[in-house]
């Protein structure tokens, strides 16, 4: 498995773990949705995501430094480009949902923020999944 594919798996796992635990805690009521605790927990999740990404990428690079140092070749650039295009469409779809939700009676600012952040997390997952599928398929 190439370093870029490992990187896609690391992104997928870390986003699912961090945002999954965040939205899981909100959905199950472990953290009250409209409270300062949800903000603090959200901030902690983002910091945990950064730490996890940096640590796992560092470990992956240490396991195969030559592979990690190799610049992206044309196939990897193509995979990166296609996956980000896919992620962009997922993000745009999510943003349309966010805009629609703002027009739902009873919706508030926090609901918009939660949905917006969820959209970004889903788009990041979509990019990582698209990369993994293309790496597995060949391109």
């Amino acid at each position: 498995m190439s370093f870029r594919e490992k990187s896609a798996w690391i992104t997928l796992a870390s986003v699912i773990i961090c945002f999954g635990s965040y939205y899981g805690a909100l959905a199950t009521g472990l953290v009250p949705v409209y409270s300062i605790h949800s903000f603090h927990f959200g901030l902690s999740s983002i910091i945990a995501l950064i730490v996890l990404q940096v640590a796992l990428h560092a470990i992956a690079a240490m396991l195969n430094p030559a592979d990690a140092r190799t610049p992206r070749d044309e196939r990897e650039k193509l995979i990166q480009s296609r996956s980000h295009t896919f992620g962009y469409y997922v993000m745009m779809l999510g943003m349309v949902v966010v805009v629609l939700v703002t027009h739902v009676p009873g919706s508030n600012f926090m609901a918009t923020v939660y949905l917006g952040v969820l959209t970004m997390a889903v788009a990041a997952i979509a990019v990582a999944v698209a990369q993994i599928v293309m790496f597995r398929r060949g391109a």
């Binding site: 498995m1 190439s2 870029r4 594919e5 592979d67 190799t70 070749d73 044309e74 196939r75 990897e76 790496f135 398929r137 060949g138 391109a139």
Partner: protein, 73 residues
């Protein structure tokens, strides 16, 4: 001769590698500035290389482009 589904391009890379001192995919990848995984994908017919990459591969083997890649519908 790998002939991928949907890609009508066959190639002789595997044969040429073995005819050139059993060159590994990693060695070929290093010579053409690509990853081993990309060489494997090209060889398996899962990825069509750019014209430049195709010429680089042919150059490594000292072969003409159509000795390495064939249009095979």
């Amino acid at each position: 001769m790998p002939k991928p589904k949907g890609l009508p391009i066959a190639n002789q890379i595997r044969r040429l590698r073995f005819e050139h001192g059993e060159m590994t995919q990693s060695e070929l990848a290093e010579k053409i500035g690509m990853t081993r995984q990309t060489v494997a994908a090209i060889e398996a017919g899962k990825y069509s290389p750019s014209l430049e990459a195709a010429f680089r591969i042919a150059h490594v083997f000292g072969a003409k482009l159509d000795d390495v890649f064939q249009w095979d519908e």
